[in-house]
Amino acid sequence: MEAASELEVSRAILSIQERHGEVWSPTPVVGFRAWSVDVDGLRGVRAMWTSPTFAATCERPFGSNTDREVPHTDGTCGPPPCGIYATHEIETLLASGLTDNLPDLAVGTVALSGKVVEHEHGFRAQIATISSILAFCSDRAYFTADPGAIAELIAAPRAIIGRLGVPLDKDRKDIAIERYGRRHPWTSESRSE
């Protein structure tokens, strides 16, 4: 294709993307999630995570459901609509009440990829990979951002936290805010906006 035609095609694609409210990013979007700590994995709201990467599916009973379309933005599924949910800020996640009644809890950052739908306070994603995790079990806390250690933790969360965790010395929410709060350098460098 000649340079002039390439430019025209590129401009046309950009124009279509802008019209449909769609932008492209080469790097994952970072969000926050919570799980319940189980014996053999981390339990999300709907499904068990048995590896650091999870791909969304849609349970709507009709219509097309290809990987490229999930999470849907056409209002044909839900409520709530499909996708892996994550929040912009840890504070939003902790204030949602989702984590209040979980006896054993994990919170962490997820790298969102594929199709990511941005909302006012969070995201719905096609693919999410845990990039760091802070897990609590009984009276111990364990944090890691090492991919190998994250995979080990997910395989046997309770055993790993029991073996490698440190005793809790304050409230779980306070520890999570200290680790992931808005002003902490750990998250300020990886903000998506």
Binding site: H20, V29, V45, Y85, S113, K115
Partner: protein
């Protein structure tokens, strides 16, 4: 969990690779030394007699 109103769609994909990968550059050969001249020459033309 309420994450508010939908704003936009972000497609996260690595940059498409449509440019053929460049073959690795061969490492430069070490400078050849001319037969009897232990001082050698790194100027590249070993057919010229060493001056001086």
């Amino acid at each position: 969990m309420d994450i508010g109103k939908q704003k936009r769609v972000i497609i996260v994909e690595p940059e498409p690779v449509d440019v053929p990968a460049r073959s690795p550059q061969p490492e430069p050969a070490p400078p050849r030394r001319s037969g009897g001249d232990s001082r050698g020459s790194t100027l590249g033309n070993h057919h010229q007699p060493a001056l001086g």
